[in-house]
Symmetry: C2
Subunit: 159 residues, 2 copies
């Protein structure tokens, strides 16, 4: 579980570096699919990870700014770094005994949903990888090579 | 680990169903990014999963047809079902004691690479989710709603 989070964090930071190499208007240009924009997608994966882990599993009061409040590459990077500092210790504390614990989520419709921690953790992992797949298509539209999605060859093992 | 494979298999089958609802030429229309075509992407994720798990981890002799040999939706679905039958028992036999076992991969350049089983399993998981993210952009280009990428709400837990 932890390795897939580390993978996501590494890939995310490579996308931030990638963003710094393209014109800022490309990051906010309307595109087909997903959230429709590169920078809001990066904001979104940070907000969703933070919301589920610190707000959901950890049941902390979390403050999630709107995209408009962090609407530049540097601000989204800072937002990501702030969230990461808070949530990484929770991810690193993960162990199999937490799999079946249940958290209660109140949906936008006010309904109560029950999810196991294991379900939430995998949801967050798959969510980020999925959106990075969308970025890889948009990167080609920009005319640039996307960040590699390979898990193998990142030095995530044998550290 | 197993749940993320189950997620991928479920999502993949939903993409097969999705494909059946669109004109066949859309599945083979050149698009931007990734492998550039919907049906070859589905073929590719099947071939990669099968190659790494049966050919790599299990060190079986595997026969992987070229895309041209299975170039229709029904044939890719059949290819997926055949591979799944072989590899699912290996995935379901997964346990943490296998994490650090090492497999040797001979790259296209003839170089020997060593990977732990844990690394290979996560590579396969991330690989499929990434490509499904690409399909979700292309689905909108076709004018259709993509398959949901949500992990939560699929009934993968509590079965």
């Amino acid at each position: 579980m932890i390795k897939l989070f580390e993978y996501n964090w590494q890939v995310r930071n490579e996308w931030f570096d990638w963003c710094a190499t393209v014109a800022e208007e490309e990051l906010m240009k309307k595109r087909t699919g997903g959230l429709g924009y590169i920078l809001p997608t990066l904001y979104h994966i940070v907000a969703v990870e933070y919301g589920w882990i610190c707000g959901g599993i950890q049941q902390q009061q979390v403050f999630i700014p709107s995209f408009e409040e962090v609407a530049s590459l540097q601000q989204v990077k800072d937002f990501s770094a702030r969230c990461h500092k808070e949530l990484a210790p929770i991810v690193y504390d993960w162990n199999a005994s937490l799999e079946e614990r249940v958290m209660i989520d109140i949906t936008d419709d006010g309904e109560e949903e029950h999810h196991t921690y294991g379900e939430v953790m995998r949801h967050v992992i798959a969510h980020e990888i999925h959106h990075m797949g969308q970025l890889s298509v948009w990167a080609r539209e920009v005319g640039k090579k996307p960040v590699s999605a390979n898990f193998i060859g990142r030095g995530l093992f044998g550290k």
